[in-house]
């Protein structure tokens, strides 16, 4: 039986304790969150005018890294975009940047105007470039759905997990250990969901035998963080959808292989 207990939660961050799952399963979830969940990012930049101090390439790169809100429910699935099952324009959003400096100024991400009201820069005040009087930047940019496997600008979030620590304290706990535990973990009564296994292992190494730390079997603390493109719930939901899709396509490929092998065997026997 898998048991999940949420320890901390906000719109962009979640931390939970899972029991009864092996590290491999959790790791595949982590890897999907880090490199497979699709988001929108600027991929094509048509620079019409740029006489700022920044090269076109650098400006285009900075534009690409700006996180954009990604309403996954109103966009096609990433597999459909990748396999060409939908019109490529459905996976693309056009934005325009048009700034002329009347006085020294900073070009911010909110100056990107989008064709779709539900797709816009997540943060308004990302400085893109600084302009001196008379300089201007005009560019037409196209954002498309992509995966972080291809480029880090499509990274939707980050996730990690660590073993749930089981801490045994000796009855005569030296003062140096007590203060170390208080400093690193907040209290001598260690909460495994908040104080990491790694930190406790260093306490163990420092306390010669008075603190024993080992890993609880098949119990892990998992956290996931969204980079703002979507809330963390949609991030995890999409991660599970992609993971299931990957497992299903693996099973399909395996079945096909098995059927072909069986057919070849019977052909040989005849």
């Amino acid at each position: 039986m898998v048991k999940v207990q949420v320890v901390e939660r906000s719109s962009g961050y979640i931390r939970f304790v899972v029991e009864g799952v092996d590290a491999g399963t959790l790791n595949s979830l982590r890897r999907v969150i880090v490199s497979e969940v699709p988001v929108l990012a600027i991929h094509e930049v048509v620079i019409i005018e740029n006489n700022s101090v920044m090269y076109d390439e650098v400006l285009a790169h900075r534009l690409g890294l700006v996180p954009l809100t990604t309403p996954l429910e109103s966009l096609p699935k990433i597999e459909e975009c990748e396999m060409g099952l939908v019109d490529p324009t459905e996976c693309t959003v056009k934005l325009v940047l048009q700034v002329k400096a009347e006085e020294p100024m900073v070009v911010y991400s909110y100056m990107l105007s989008s064709d779709r009201p539900d797709v816009r820069p997540v943060h308004d005040n990302v400085p893109l470039v600084k302009l001196e009087t008379g300089q201007s930047v005009v560019a037409e940019v196209y954002a498309r759905l992509g995966r972080a496997r291809e480029h880090a600008k499509w990274q939707a979030g980050n996730a990690a997990y660590y073993a749930y620590p089981r801490v045994t304290l000796s009855s005569q706990l030296p003062d140096k250990c007590r203060s170390l535990l208080e400093e690193l973990c907040g209290s001598v009564q260690v909460d495994g969901a908040r104080c990491t296994y790694g930190k406790l292992k260093s306490v163990e190494a420092y306390c010669d035998g008075h603190v024993k730390v080992d890993a609880e079997p098949d119990k892990y603390v998992f956290w996931a963080e969204s980079y703002g493109n979507m809330d963390v719930d949609s991030l995890i939901r999409e991660a599970f959808r992609i993971l299931r899709w990957k497992l299903e396509s693996f099973m399909d490929a395996l079945r096909l292989k098995a059927a072909r092998y069986a057919a070849a065997q019977t052909a040989l026997e005849e």
């Binding site: 101090v53 920044m54 650098v58 900075r62 890294l65 700006v66 996180p67 020294p104 991400s109 997540v122 943060h123 308004d124 005040n125 990302v126 400085p127 470039v129 600084k130 001196e132 009087t133 008379g134 300089q135 972080a148 880090a152 600008k153 990274q155 980050n158 963080e225 980079y227 703002g228």
Partner: protein, 66 residues
């Protein structure tokens, strides 16, 4: 040259915090406390903001035509 949009290592967007961070530090706040308040937990993101120097201002001096 200008603030990195994302953390070099983990990819978290950091540039939107830069101006807030800068004004807090210039107002005398301890940089570490300021980063805590901005919600940068990992040391990779923290050093990306801490280590940044706004060189673009120097370049812009050559563009001033008066």
């Amino acid at each position: 040259m200008i603030v990195p949009v994302r953390c070099w290592t983990c990819g978290r967007p950091v540039a939107y915090l830069w101006e807030d961070f800068k004004s807090r530090v210039l107002a005398g706040e301890h940089p570490g406390r300021a980063l805590d308040a901005l919600g940068l937990r990992r040391y990779c993101c923290r050093r990306t903001l801490m280590g940044h120097v706004e060189w673009i201002d120097l370049l812009l001096k050559f563009e001033q035509r008066q």
